[in-house]
Amino acid sequence: MKNPDIFRLITSPPVEKQESVEDETNIKDIMSFDFSEGFEDKVLARINSGNEVYGRTYAIEKSLSLAFYRIAFTAAAAVVILLLSIYLKEGSFSFDLLLGIGDIDSESIVCLLTGN
């Protein structure tokens, strides 16, 4: 089948009205696809292994999700250690202590910011 023929078939009005079964068969033959060798084995292997949700398609996103959780938990742990060390050193929590300006009075901050 030449290009114009398949193009005509695929862009012509609904087949019930004007095309023959032979034409439909031609489209199906030309536009035939298949999966790779051993497809059945791969499906059954994934069913039996329980690794059903994540295929190669999701591998990148799964890796990004795992990386996010690792970074998030590490960051949370660092914040807890920081809070603990402040509490042990100063004996209390305050907003100034968390910002690292517990020992500086407001006049010093004004001087520092304005340069006077």
């Binding site: 695929i10 087949v15 536009m31 696809f33 999966f35 059954l44 069913i47």
Partner: protein, 187 residues
Amino acid sequence: MVISSYRESGDDILVKATLEGDQNAFREIVSRYRKMVARTVKGMLGDTVYSEDIGQEVFIKLYHSLQEFRGEAKLSTYIQKIAVNLTLNEIKRRKRFFSMFTHKGSDELYEYDVADDDYAGKNDVRELVSKALMQIDPKFRSIVVMRMLQGYSTKETSEILSLPVGTVLSRLSRAQEQLREILKNQR
């Protein structure tokens, strides 16, 4: 009862045997319908490595949902519904995922894959039609794939896609308009 070869068996026997735990029966189902699923998935996603994964997902989902299959529709129709739903979900998912990194939509990325990897040097009809299909809206594409590539009737297409017959016809007409425009320079 374990039957070593189910080649001559009907779908109902295969479903029953699979539910009884015979994986040879399920292997026969996969073998029987893999080309049909490939035509749907690759017709809608392009012939890329991702399509193979989605194809596997279709049969895995089928395996787990066979208990819900009542036999009211044909097994092939049931599988097609799963294939279309998973493929449309994948198109949406990839569009969301890639939109975080690029202005390109997922379809344009698929088109890039198709042009560069799988079809290089194969300037044939299938390639041209596939590339044209990748350029039309997924909701139109699914209609063309069911109606023209799979050869389902308008009524069957409407059942598989859960759409009214009128919507199928109007979308098919609009899809063909778009395809005509895309393919007019290829003649």
